[in-house]
C-alpha cells in the first residue's frame, strides 16, 4: 500500500514537473494562463458580432473549458514524453501498480486544470466586466474541480491512445476543438443539430458549463447538484474506459513489440 501511495504521489509529482520542461514556471504562464484569457476575448467578441449570447456566456464557457486543456494535453504528454525520453518501455516493464501510476499522474493535472480555469474565470470576468455573485463562488470552485476531474477522465482515454498512436498531440487538439464546438461552450446547444447536441450530453464540460452558468445567473448550489453529478459520472466513465484501454494497449504493444514505434 505504501509503495502504491509512493508511486501515486511522487511519480505523479515528478511527471507533472516534467511537463513543464523540468520546472520552467514561465512556460506555465505562456502556455496555459495567457491563452486561456485570449481565447475568452476571441469568443466574446465573436459572440458580440453574432449577437447570440452576452459576454457572461463566453466567459463562463471558455473559463470552464480551460480546465480541459491541461487535462487533455498533460495526460497525453505523460505518455509521449516517456516515449521521447525512452523511458516508456522501462515504465511498462516496472511492477508498479498501473492504477497508482496513472491516477498519480492524473491528480496534479486535474488540479492544474482547475487552477487554470479559475484564473481564466477571474481575469476574463474583470476584463469583460462580468459580475459574479459572491454566493456563487463556492459552487463555482466545486464546479471547476468536478469539470477538471471529468476532463482528466477523457485525458486518460487520450493518453491510452498515445500507446497506440504517435500523434497524440493531434488527437488532443481534435478533442479540444470538438469540445469548443459541441459542448455548449461557445455555441448554445439549441443552435446545434439534434444529433450533435445529443453527443454533447456524453462529453465532459457540457454539464459543468451549464452548472457554472446557472450559478452565475443566481442559481443555488442545490440547483446544480444534478448537473455536477452527471459531470462526475461522465468523468468516471471516461476514467474507467481510459484505465482499461491503458492496460489493453500496453499488453498489445508488448505483444507486438511496438511500444517505441507507435
Amino acid at each position: 500500500m505504501t509503495h502504491r501511495l509512493r508511486v501515486f504521489a511522487i511519480g505523479g509529482f515528478l511527471s507533472y514537473r516534467a511537463l513543464f520542461g523540468w520546472l520552467n514556471p514561465y512556460l506555465f504562464v505562456i502556455i496555459l494562463l495567457v491563452p486561456s484569457v485570449t481565447q475568452i476575448l476571441f469568443f466574446a467578441y465573436l459572440g458580440r458580432a453574432a449577437g447570440v449570447e452576452d459576454d457572461t456566456f463566453y466567459v463562463v464557457g471558455n473559463a470552464v473549458v480551460a480546465a480541459a486543456v491541461p487535462c487533455l494535453f498533460g495526460m497525453a504528454d505523460t505518455i509521449t514524453d516517456e516515449r521521447y525520453t525512452h523511458t516508456l518501455s522501462l515504465l511498462v516493464v516496472s511492477p508498479a501498480s498501473r492504477l497508482a501510476l496513472f491516477l498519480g499522474r492524473a491528480m496534479p493535472v486535474a488540479v492544474n486544470g482547475a487552477v487554470v480555469a479559475a484564473f481564466a474565470f477571474v481575469v476574463g470576468s474583470l476584463l469583460l466586466d462580468v459580475s459574479v455573485p459572491a454566493s456563487a463562488l463556492g459552487g463555482l470552485v466545486v464546479t471547476i474541480l468536478v469539470t477538471g476531474f471529468a476532463c482528466t477522465g477523457l485525458g486518460i482515454v487520450n493518453a491510452s491512445l498515445g500507446l497506440r498512436w504517435r500523434e497524440s498531440a493531434l488527437l488532443s487538439n481534435l478533442i479540444l476543438y470538438f469540445l469548443l464546438l459541441a459542448a455548449g461552450v461557445n455555441v448554445p446547444l439549441d443552435l446545434l443539430p439534434g444529433w450533435l447536441s445529443t453527443i454533447a450530453q456524453g462529453l465532459p464540460v457540457t454539464h459543468g458549463v451549464e452548472a457554472a452558468r446557472e450559478l452565475v445567473a443566481g442559481g443555488s448550489f442545490s440547483d446544480v447538484v444534478p448537473l455536477l453529478a452527471t459531470e462526475l459520472l461522465v468523468g468516471l466513465v471516461y476514467a474507467t474506459i481510459g484505465l482499461f484501454l491503458v492496460r489493453l494497449f500496453e499488453v498489445q504493444a508488448r505483444r507486438g513489440a511496438s511500444l517505441e514505434l507507435a
Partner: protein
C-alpha cells in the same frame, strides 16, 4: 545565385517534408473547418453567400496563422533536438537564408487551409465561389503567405536564442485571430485595436483576399502592404537573428533544448 539556390532547395524540401506531417496538416485543414462550422452555427446559418465566403477565407487565414505560430517554432525545436541546429548555424550560408525558407514553406502549407475552407463552403453550404477578381486573388494568396512566413521568420529569430520560445507562438494565436478581422468584424472591437492590427500581415492578407473575392474595393493596396511588411519583417528578422545567434554562440546555449 548560390544563395537563391539554397533558399529554393530549402523551401522545396521543407514544403514536401512538412506536407507529410500529420500534425501540421491537421492544423491547416481542421482549424478552418471547425471555426467555419462554429461561425455558421453562431450566425444561425443565416449568413448570406458573401458572408460565408468571407468566413471561409477568414477561417483559412486562421489556419495559416496557427501553423505559422506553432509550426515554425516546432520546426526549429526539432532541429535543435536532433542536433542539426548547430550544423545549420555553422554552415557557410547565412542562417537567415536557411531559416526564411523553412518559415515560408510552413506558411505555404496554408494553401491547403484556404482550399479546404473554400471547398467546405462550396460543398456543404452550396455557396458558389464567385471570386470577383481571380488575378488579384491568385496574386494575393502567395504574397499573403510570404508575408506571414516572414512574420514567422522574425519570430523564429527568438526561437533560436530562447529554448522555450516555441511556446511564445501560443501567445499570438488568439490575439491575431481576434484583431485582424479574420472572423470578427473590426467594427465590434475597441477603436485602439485597429492601428495595432496594421502591423500584422494577416490583417492585410485578409483584406486583400476578401476584396478580391467579394469585390467592393481594390485589393491591390492590401497586396502591396503585404509585400512591404514582408520586407520589414525580413529586415527586422535578419537583425534580430544576428543578435540572438551571437548571444547564443557566446553563451553556448544553441544546442540546449
Amino acid at each position: 545565385m548560390r544563395l537563391l539556390r539554397t533558399m529554393a532547395v530549402g523551401w522545396t524540401l521543407h514544403f514536401k517534408q512538412e506536407s507529410r506531417n500529420p500534425f501540421f496538416l491537421w492544423i491547416v485543414i481542421c482549424t478552418p473547418l471547425i471555426y467555419a462550422t462554429m461561425a455558421y452555427f453562431l450566425f444561425r446559418g443565416g449568413t448570406g453567400g458573401e458572408e460565408l465566403v468571407a468566413a471561409a477565407v477568414g477561417s483559412g487565414m486562421m489556419g495559416i496563422w496557427s501553423l505559422t505560430t506553432t509550426a515554425a517554432a516546432a520546426a526549429l525545436q526539432s532541429r535543435r533536438r536532433t542536433g542539426i541546429l548547430e550544423l545549420l548555424v555553422a554552415a557557410p550560408q547565412p542562417f537567415w537564408a536557411i531559416l526564411a525558407p523553412i518559415t515560408i514553406a510552413i506558411s505555404a502549407l496554408g494553401v491547403y487551409s484556404l482550399a479546404t475552407s473554400m471547398l467546405y463552403v462550396r460543398l456543404l453550404y452550396g455557396v458558389s465561389l464567385d471570386v470577383q477578381d481571380w488575378l488579384a486573388f491568385a496574386v494575393a494568396v502567395p504574397v499573403g503567405i510570404v508575408s506571414m512566413g516572414m512574420l514567422g521568420f522574425m519570430l523564429g529569430a527568438a526561437f533560436v536564442r530562447y529554448r522555450s520560445a516555441w511556446a511564445v507562438g501560443n501567445l499570438f494565436e488568439f490575439p491575431v485571430w481576434t484583431i485582424c478581422g479574420l472572423l470578427i468584424p473590426i467594427a465590434v472591437l475597441p477603436a485602439w485595436v485597429e492601428p495595432v492590427a496594421w502591423i500584422f500581415a494577416p490583417t492585410w492578407g485578409m483584406n486583400a483576399l476578401r476584396d478580391a473575392a467579394l469585390g467592393g474595393s481594390s485589393p491591390w493596396d492590401d497586396v502591396a502592404m503585404c509585400a512591404a511588411l514582408s520586407v520589414v519583417y525580413g529586415a527586422l528578422g535578419a537583425v534580430l537573428l544576428r543578435v540572438f545567434l551571437r548571444s547564443a554562440r557566446r553563451r553556448g546555449t544553441l544546442a540546449l533544448s
